[in-house]
């Protein structure tokens, strides 16, 4: 019987220290690589810092330590490498905001030419660099099927510059450039870009979405991506306490609620076809996810929705649930 789940262990906990070593996440293992080490300057509760550590640690494990990381400009770059310090314990390069995929292509080309194909290349950036300014380079890297794993840490706005709207900002969200005023407060409906689906349209070997709420699942997707060659794309939802207006302790919970309400579907696709979507274990209304975040506070008054915008958000979630068939029981074994 082959286990087809991305999270084969079916557990959310990262340590599971009562279980055997084989069930432990890389994050819980005694020899965790700790690629993004302590002392960096991320905010308390930063989802991106967490996501990057989980992803790069897993990639390092998968590649037996032979990793070069290419980082786009953004929070992750700024908080990890203020000269003369660096929090990275792996070969790491930052060039510009919009060129990380192209730089990664160059690194991979160099490794190929030098006969060092065992050295793997991981590029990473936030949603601004991925879905907006670096999108041309990302599409080029996908189209050429360059041997790069690109990871987008999506916190749904330009957080490093002070919470401005990106093409990954959801409708109604308050940002500094989509203030909650006027006839359609916050970010407007009918806009935005779904980069995982666009990545699939490039027919690249592997596309997956994940969040920082399920470490086992995220790590499993990194391992799967690292078992393949060519262009691979991982889109990780990483809540941002600053931009989302949420308590730092809620980061993991919000990432989980985003999945459970259907607004952020977890799925995998190979060569342009969805191969698996993770069933929602405990479905919740979008209200449960939106209410704890101040960026959506204007949707409610006295705890009640002020207009139909909450219902429209629910429609978006329902459309995802239907499109990816997210309800029902997981078919764990085939």
């Amino acid at each position: 019987m082959k286990n087809t789940q991305a999270n084969p262990k079916g557990i959310y906990t990262i340590s599971n220290r009562l279980g055997d070593q084989a069930n432990r996440a890389v994050q819980a293992s005694e020899d965790r690589p700790n690629s993004l080490t302590s002392g960096h300057r991320a905010c308390q509760g930063c989802g991106e810092a967490l996501g990057a550590r989980i992803v790069v640690d897993a990639a390092l494990r998968a590649a037996k330590g032979q990793i070069i990381v290419v980082n786009a400009t953004g929070c992750l770059e700024v908080f990890s490498t203020p000269y003369p310090e660096t929090a990275w314990q792996t070969a790491w390069v930052h060039s510009l905001f919009g060129n990380a995929p192209a730089v990664a292509t160059g690194v991979a080309a160099a490794m190929e030419v030098k006969g060092r194909g065992n050295v793997r290349v991981l590029a990473q950036g936030g949603d601004g660099s991925t879905t907006d300014i670096g999108f041309g380079c990302l599409s080029g890297m996908f189209e050429r099927n360059d041997d790069v794993l690109y990871v987008c840490y999506d916190n749904q706005a330009y957080m490093n510059t002070g919470v401005q709207r990106s093409s990954a900002t959801p409708p109604t969200a308050r940002t500094a450039t989509t203030p909650p005023v006027g006839s359609e407060p916050g970010n407007v409906f009918g806009t935005g870009k779904n980069v995982p689906l666009i990545a699939m349209a490039h027919q690249i070997p592997y596309v997956a979405t994940a969040t920082v709420a399920d470490v086992q699942d995220l790590e499993a997707k990194v391992f799967k991506a690292m078992s393949m060659r060519g262009a691979r794309y991982l889109h990780v939802l990483v809540p941002c306490p600053l931009g989302w207006g949420s308590p730092p302790r809620e980061t993991i919970n919000l990432a989980r609620l985003a999945v459970q309400c259907g607004l952020f579907p977890l799925f995998e696709a190979e060569n342009g076809t969805v191969t698996r979507a993770t069933k929602i274990r405990q479905p919740v209304p979008v209200e449960n996810y939106l209410k704890p975040q101040r960026r959506f506070a204007h949707l409610f008054k006295g705890g009640k929705p002020v207009d139909d915008r909450l219902a429209r958000m629910q429609e978006m979630a329902d459309a995802n649930i239907s499109r990816f068939n997210l309800l029902g029981h997981e078919e764990t074994c085939k």
Binding site: N71, S95, L96, G106, A110, K114, C137, R144
Partner: protein, 407 residues
């Protein structure tokens, strides 16, 4: 080996002889034939262990080269004009990271209005981006400068832009001496990067630097440019001993010894100027030429010394800083004794031919002026005057119209 080839192909062959490991290609006129030539050489197996990547933009072209160079591969790309501007952010980044990338710039005007023909506006627009900029006089020098460029770049970990006049050189078929592989191998050692991305010795490259250290970083960039003088000197001296001919260096003087009027210029127009000077010399005119091969770092002292006995300096240049005047002229002025008048002659913009006769007439007419002047060769004054008049009339009409409508 002597060959009769197009300039672009000559450059492609020269780059191939330098054993590049990563070549990033994106088409833009007039540089395109260079990357086409290289693509064929790689695909046919004439360049071994080289990855040729067709990218989606010039921004990506240089970004890929940044990645491959940072990972220790000898990296090359080529562009022109709008392409250079589209990659401008990466141009600064490559030098800031100290990556010895070599890039050919097939010099071309910048729009609007759209214009695909030759001038030096593109190179001048990024003159302060921390790259070494070399200008080729002819296709032989285009070959020779590319071979030197890799050596200079890797010597001091600084990117080098080799400027080759679009069409005039890139598309001209000339006889050139293409060196053999043994010679180039003897001249150009294997690339040993100063800093390299390697999991075996993890380094963080490209940190955030705040006000506490940024001035020092920029100061060191300036020092590196000054050190480049030595590297350029070493490269051209060694070049002569290996290949037996002169190429590169900072400047070259032609009949300047007794010259009263000295013309300063760079790029392919040097050939026309030499012909003009030869003719004028025969007629008894004391005229000479200083050609600039290295524009960045700018050899201010050398230029000043070469011009110290002149009575009048004419800087002929294919670029214009709107609202200011000549770019090269401002550089030359900095090294020139204040008592020597300098005439800026803007010529060849957007591919306008620079005929020998027009130059000769200009030199004749201007004589030795008493102060600095700015001129445009062959400017069609009637068209300009008509346009100025029309613009003024339209502006007045617009203002009257606006005033009549109120708010």
């Amino acid at each position: 080996m002597l060959k009769q080839v197009e300039g672009s192909h000559a450059v492609a062959e020269a780059v191939a002889l330098c054993r590049p490991e990563v070549i990033c290609a994106y088409p833009i006129t007039p540089q395109t034939h260079i990357v086409e030539g290289l693509g064929e050489l790689v695909k046919a197996g004439h360049i071994k262990d080289c990855k040729y990547i067709n990218v989606e933009s010039e921004f990506a072209a240089l970004s890929v080269a940044i990645g491959s160079s940072a990972a220790g591969a000898r990296s090359y790309t080529a562009t022109s004009s709008q392409g250079l501007l589209f990659m401008a952010e990466a141009v600064y980044n490559a030098s800031g990271l100290g990556l010895p990338i070599v890039m050919t710039l097939g010099n071309r005007a910048i729009g609007a209005p759209l214009n695909i023909w030759n001038d030096h506006s593109d190179a001048m627009s990024l003159r302060d981006a921390g790259w070494i900029q070399l200008f080729a006089e002819n296709n032989q020098e285009a070959i020779d400068l590319h071979i030197q460029a890799f050596r200079i770049a890797e010597d001091i970990s600084c990117p080098v832009m080799v400027c080759v006049d679009g069409f005039i050189l890139t598309h001209a078929v000339e006889q050139v001496d293409v060196p053999d592989q043994k010679q180039v191998d003897a001249y150009l050692p294997a690339f040993v990067p100063a800093v390299v991305l390697d999991p075996k010795a993890p380094a963080s490259v490209g940190a955030l630097v705040g006000p506490e250290a940024f001035t020092e970083v920029r100061y060191l960039d300036h020092k590196k440019q000054l050190r480049a003088f030595d590297a350029i000197d070493r490269a051209s001296t060694a070049f002569k001993s290996v290949f037996g001919r002169e190429a590169g260096g900072f400047i070259r003087s032609y009949h300047t010894k007794d010259a009263e009027t000295v013309i300063v210029a760079m790029g392919s127009v040097i050939g026309t100027l030499k012909d003009m000077i030869d003719e004028k010399r025969k007629q008894g005119h004391k005229i000479g030429l200083v050609s600039i091969c290295t524009f960045r770092p700018f050899p201010t002292a050398e230029v000043g010394a070469a011009l110290k006995d002149a009575k009048h300096v004419i800087v002929l240049e294919k670029s214009l800083a709107s609202g200011q005047g000549g770019v090269l002229a401002a550089h030359v002025r900095a090294g020139l004794h204040e008592a020597i008048p300098l005439t800026t002659l803007i010529a060849g913009l957007g591919g306008r031919p620079i005929p020998k006769n027009a130059l000769s007439e200009f030199v004749e007419k201007i004589g030795i002026p008493s102060s600095d002047e700015l001129h445009f060769l062959d400017l069609k004054q009637d068209i300009v005057d008509g346009e100025l008049k029309k613009t003024e009339e339209e502006r007045n009409a617009r203002l009257r119209n606006g005033a009549a409508r109120g708010r």
